[in-house]
Symmetry: C3
Subunit: 671 residues, 3 copies
């Protein structure tokens, strides 16, 4: 059955009235309304209140909260409360708690610490959700069901081990297949009985910090796949119960982190009715990093998403949380909207008096006052969104360029025992994303399973793990006229981390037209020099591939080390398309030089004809209206590009655009 749309552009966030005297609630709502807040996310952590003892439910407080918010005509995002288990549950059923990577069973405390394989957890969570949904499904103010909270982390208990063995049996059918897939002949690891398989924790085949070092990568990666799947089952379990009672209201769980490594969000996307994301960029994060995350979230379903959490001012759990500067909050929230968010939601609407997040920013602070800088900025944004939200909501972000981001590569590339210890997936992906961000070329961030034919250019750096069929898919895409960029450490292994024989980059050899004989590790304090055919000097780090041209041409060669003169960056005309191979980690200026050439040859159109330090994105409404978000995310004034000087007006002000944007200025232009 089709799910309902969000009824309006939501402005609101997490609200925990159960932590406060009931008599304060109506004042809270008055303050929210004053800022045009129209929505609240509730019941995220209330299991202990709702079920003080097994099977004894008490919804009286929640009834009142929902009634209060409904009466105020708030849109409610109703969470299921299954993310933090009550103390009594740990005591009665110790198996609900995870066993950690060190092999230790945890006890009551913290949150997000349920074992995904615990039958007790599954039963108790199902019971709670059924009661909850049964009770509130008919409330028309509930516009989204919010399952659990920020799934993540792994369990290494005996129950998970048993489930993992079953999962492997389903996947590999025979031990022969398993042994081959994991190449268990090495180091005498052959398994002769499913029961001999042990989870990869510190006491077994993995070591070092969790998720970073392993002996049998196939085992470790499969375990991450299994855990991601096992968690997804929990989500689906709750979703299915919800849909029994309410098949129409969209169901989501909030994604998080930068992004979260342990959950394969591309695997999870199909099960989400709408993607929702908690956005907490750190103070020192370059501005393209959150843009990348929003593009990733939007691309998961190729639809607008919910900005489920964000902070109205500071957070309290990062290393350092300087104040957001005046007007910075508005700009950063609108950046999410520019990239596809159809909601702006805060954690939290009212600041808690205790707990580990008590110094996390909120709409109503500890002082209770509204004559604060933070509140006034929330208020201003509320007024803005009230005006422009209805226009924005549901609009799309069309893109002809795609960056490939893949969780199997995230895992395997960081597990690899390679020629340098400095392999990290995200920074290299961001190198390439930044090329399009700074040119204001709209970009999707897609999965290897996405349809490439929608794009003029597909960029897949460090595509280390190439699953069966993917090499052919890329080759066919280029043959049919697509354009493809890849890099060092690509095309190397299959989905269980076994190397493709016959020369790197394995299944990408044909399309890239190169053979990489060997790779040099560049020491952290060193670099390697390159030169383009037209004499530009480039600099590489991390690794340097020693490339032989098979069909490709070199567009840059090494200019230092004993391999000076060997190809370093190559271009291959392959049937109707082209493929580039970039053999080293180029610094930003160098990579820009290469992409000037690539993008120039493709005639990809930036949203501003001339380069600008402003961030420009485009959303297109269902009736075709083009909305241009012009953001000054830097510290200096920037002139409005000429493209927008004539015939545009700013939906936020209703006036002509200003010719100069101050730091944190935002214009929302349309014809």
């Amino acid at each position: 059955m089709m799910k309902k749309e969000l009824p309006r552009f939501l402005y609101g966030g997490d609200y925990n009235p159960e932590q406060w005297p009931e008599e304060t609630w109506s004042d809270d709502i008055k303050v929210f309304k004053q800022a045009d807040i129209n929505s609240a996310t509730i019941n995220v952590f209330s299991w202990a209140l709702l079920e003080p003892a097994e099977g004894q439910f008490n919804f009286s407080k929640l009834d009142k909260i929902i009634k209060e918010l409904s009466n105020a005509n708030f849109d409610i995002v109703l969470a299921t409360s299954t993310a933090a288990m009550p103390a009594w549950m740990f005591k009665k059923y110790p198996d609900v708690a995870r066993v950690d990577y060190q092999g230790r069973r945890h006890v009551f405390g913290a949150r997000h610490n349920f074992c995904p394989s615990s039958k007790n957890y599954q039963r108790l969570a199902s019971d709670l959700v059924r009661r909850l949904v049964e009770r509130y499904a008919d409330n028309p103010h509930i516009v989204v069901w919010h399952v659990n909270n920020e799934y993540g982390g792994n369990c290494y208990c005996q129950e998970c081990q048993a489930e993992f063995r079953k999962w492997l049996k389903d996947r590999y059918h025979s031990l022969n297949n398993l042994n081959r897939a994991w190449n268990m002949n090495v180091w005498s690891h052959t398994i002769y009985n499913w029961d001999e398989i042990v989870v990869p924790n510190e006491l077994g085949d993995a070591w070092g910090p969790e998720g970073t070092e392993t002996i049998v990568a196939g085992l470790s990666i499969d375990y991450l796949r299994f855990q991601s799947t096992q968690m997804l089952k929990l989500f689906k379990m709750e979703k299915q119960i919800i849909e029994e009672y309410d098949p129409e209201t969209p169901v989501t769980t909030n994604f998080h982190s930068l992004p979260n490594k342990m959950i394969d969000y591309q695997q999870w996307a199909a099960a989400q009715d709408i993607i929702s994301y908690d956005s907490y960029p750190a103070y020192d994060m370059p501005k393209y990093h959150p843009a990348f995350l929003y593009d990733l979230m939007r691309s998961l379903k190729h639809q607008p998403f919910m900005l489920m959490e964000s902070t109205p001012s500071q957070v309290n759990w990062q290393q350092y949380s300087p104040l957001k500067r005046p007007r910075q909050m508005r700009a950063t929230e609108l950046q999410a909207v520019a990239h596809g968010a159809d909601t702006v939601q805060f954690f939290q609407l009212k600041q808690a008096v205790g707990g580990s997040e008590k110094f996390h920013g909120a709409v109503i602070p500890h002082s209770g006052r509204t004559d604060t800088r933070a509140y006034r900025e929330v208020e201003r944004l509320g007024h803005d969104l009230k005006k422009v939200g209805p226009v924005i909501k549901g609009s799309q972000n069309p893109a002809k360029v795609a960056i490939v981001f893949d969780w199997s590569n995230f895992w395997s590339f960081e597990y690899v025992d390679g020629i340098t210890q400095d392999f990290a997936y995200l920074p290299i992906i961001l190198d390439y994303y930044r090329q399009f961000y700074e040119r204001n070329i709209p970009t999707d961030v897609i999965a290897v399973d996405d349809d490439f034919s929608n794009y003029d250019l597909v960029v897949a750096p460090v595509l280390y793990m190439v699953k069966p069929g993917l090499g052919k898919k890329i080759t066919d895409y280029v043959a049919s006229g697509g354009n493809f960029v890849t890099s060092f450490m690509s095309g190397m292994v299959n989905s269980t981390d076994n190397v493709y024989l016959g020369g790197y980059p394995g299944p990408l050899k044909e399309v890239t037209g190169v053979w990489v004989e060997e790779s040099d590790a560049i020491l952290p304090e060193k670099d390697v020099k390159l030169q383009t055919n037209d004499g530009k000097h480039l600099t590489g780090t991390l690794v340097a591939d020693l490339i032989h041209l098979e069909h490709a041409e070199a567009i840059a060669k090494y200019d230092s080390e004993f391999y000076a003169g060997m190809p370093a960056v190559t271009e291959n005309h392959y049937h109707r398309g082209k493929a580039w191979y970039i053999g080293s980690r180029l610094d930003h200026a160098s990579l820009s030089t290469i992409f000037d050439q690539i993008i120039g040859s493709l005639k990809l159109k930036p949203l501003s004809a001339k380069k600008t330090a402003l961030e420009i994105t485009k959303r297109v409404t269902t009736d075709g209206q083009k909305l241009y978000f012009i953001l000054n995310m830097g510290n200096d004034q920037q002139p409005l590009p000429n493209d927008f000087k004539e015939g545009y007006h700013d939906l936020l002000t209703g006036q002509s655009p200003k010719n100069v944007l101050n730091p944190w200025d935002v214009e929302l232009l349309t014809h």
Copy 2:
């Protein structure tokens, strides 16, 4: 019953004759006497010798030792030997060993590793102490009972958990109260049964290195309170047995560290007949840090204390132990005396041949020789103390300024998940202490429960946790004419870490006359500029409070960032007194500028009219004689201040003071 005074100024230290052939003892004593050593601390770690098997006691060796020392007319500090348990005890009663923060039961090894809740430990320790005291109580040479040794560290075992639940029941009476105190509504932590409470270790609600990170700060802080109390019970258990047999000889346990975080020495002070302290300043510690520690120790009971341990030369367990330079040892020992010590005691009188402290300095070194630099310095100090000890002993250190140091703040401020990860309590307290140290203004270091009315000025930086009544106490103190200085991160939470609503600094808002709307985190490599009303430029780090004046006036404002022009340091005339609020962590020069103003306005009198790099303290004997300790703790010659040029003589030399003090020179002047 009144306890006896120390019979004389003690000069001695830890002596372990049981590690040596008996025939060597008399030679040892000869060497000690040659240096005017008059005292020995014995029996600190002899449980395994005294009780080779449960219930089988053997005091023959100790009898001989005590006899030897008594015959030599040594004053004996007799330890109870309960700090290191014999191997057989771990084997027979594994519960005597602690369970660590990681949840692991320890085994035989190390020391100071008894579980404070172990009934077996309590019974066995009591038995030992009873036998010991029964046997030696009548020996008139025993001048102090030394209970256990350097209490510290925590246990996380099931027995402690059970005792903790009882302790909580006594404290909170109902689970309702407990849940409210710990704000357990957050993250669904509500407890419905006392048995659901679990100790805060790495497997539960705390994480990170012990004592540094927690989710429920109320729980974690209460656990530290409980552990401190539980250890104190052990001390009292031994003390009570001692007093059954010997109600007159003072009982103490030796405090330690810089200071030790895990034991609330202010809570423990009342139970000590005399404070004793083990002093091991690291080679790179600024000279005011040990001064602070001595002032803290003296202020615990507002009485002279014992310098129970210190090293005659190097230690062996710090990162680096350069040699104490010639004459440095004498100066550092006399620094302790200057601040209130009535003993000078070393660890150790004779250097052990094995064990982890075998390279720790000693009076008799491995060479057995006395023609060593270290021995000659011990000897010289012995002669000095023989001369001046009788005059010094029992004299007081009067002070009109008090720095507040509070263990609840120590714990809670370092647990806080705040806007920066760099919150550390002691360094900030030392910032403020140093202001008085460098001006040679005598300072007490007091508890929040001390009587403030004794002081002209009370300084309480980062008074983050303000327990019930403390806000009023401070306000009343100022109203009655007291003067009070506080800082950023003050007045924020109650004793279980719940925020005071209505605006920071909560219960200090009235007296300081300010409202802090928000606080900026200053990045480690950055700073914030300030300017005083008279145009002086100051620099702040760590945080910058954005202050609104409610009744106060600004005496410095910010001079950078978007809050330039907002108040940064304020002064509030409140009834008959004044209160200052300092909104950032000022560097030393900047804080000095502010304190020049504060101290100037109060007419507090330094011991030297003109500023000097010499350290000057004053002790006053019971008959009113003023003893001035003039110490050159730096590397350069310093002139004697004019104040002391006329009419003073040096008790150490019996002559007029020298006009110039060389490094490590000490003069003890009196009229």
Copy 3:
């Protein structure tokens, strides 16, 4: 019975055909033969294949492999496969797995993780080895038995604890002796029952990272001795079985690391028929470090050794693995030969497709191609060795200088709680080794039990632990005309870490003629100045000994700090020999100044009259032919020393030597 010699100079390495289809084997061998590879090490990790279930053996695959290699006339190094246990074994007998330093029993995974005390492991390994040897003992192509693999690491389980107690009983006979040896009187550690002894892990008397911090050093060092011995028993168990069936073929296990700290290779040497070593110098290791290791390996039995493993190109498990530069591999392999290797063996002959070492270099790479730089270099070296191997094989490396390297010092010096935390054994040994390396003076690296009388000079820096008799042995050696150099932190403790009383350097006091009163710790960023008698300025770090001359003369004195003018480096004429004491860690230039003097006075002859940056070593064949290895291990051209310009020819080229050596050039000169 006399063991057979190696039949020829082996060139080959680890080969795992069982990981590949059988039809590929013959092609592999063709490729190997093309490079003159004549040997393969097989069956290192095949237990799971050979014994898929307990008692069910399957040698069919190994039969084929051995047949294939035998038919190709390969010399086979046959491993016993006991280093990696099959999964079923962990499941059936959990006690085969180690308990780690944290007290946790490990599970299936990794390798080299057998408990040395496990009866099950011992029985199962014995069974396997017996079947294996029984089957293949008669094959004449097997030239070496390779037991297990890279023994190392410790176990802390209950079974090891029980065995440790027995080992202690054998060593100390009575608890009295034990308590005295470990000085257990300190901290009440006296043991009254053997069962009270617990292994020194993190839960007991040791702490910090494994092998670095302990309270009772005697216990911890004895535990390392016990574990080394316990592992050696496993080796001997296998060796004994092998010799039952094949008493003639040499048996070895491959030593490793830089060197491995946990196995006392000097203790193990006697049980090896030939020493074999796995050499993996890191990219940033100074060239004298591998030379040191080869000299150590050769000196273990004073015989040529096997270079059992090395990489033909990169490794994959170091932090960074830059490519070996063109011709670098050949030079580094020949460096091993120059220092005494009689084989050149690689890990691995064919690159694995999966597993944690899949990116480790190999002769046949993933591409399967032989037109690679790496293969061509392997081929060239093969041709070289075919030519010169027969001449080299069996030749000796005579030396008149010995550096003492001692595992008990390795352990105890790094355990010591001393005046600085920066004590590390190997770097200081290397300081001294480098003095001879850079002068091209052949050097043995010997054990304290070696015969000193073979040497003109014995150098024993940081000889902290001096076992009974060693002091006298050194004194007698010098008295008889030997020359001896030692340093700070020498002569301090006996074999259970108890200090020698009477003044440092204890049993070396007589021969060195000095008394060290105390030692200053030099801070990491600081140094101490020295001056030689003839006015040269030297620099010391780490520690500075304050030395008194008893019979010695100063050859350098301190020139800074309060001990300026005190002796820092001394020389003592003792009967017919001399002894030097060096009181600080001198930097390279300073130590060179001192050794110029020492070596000058001894008339030790370098292999090149003039100093050169080339590495020159000499091997002498059984019939007295002198082979000079001239290696350019640096980055610059170097002229051939005059010594070799006349009358020499290069065995590698058959021609006169070149007058200038390029980087990585090697000449093998003879008259």
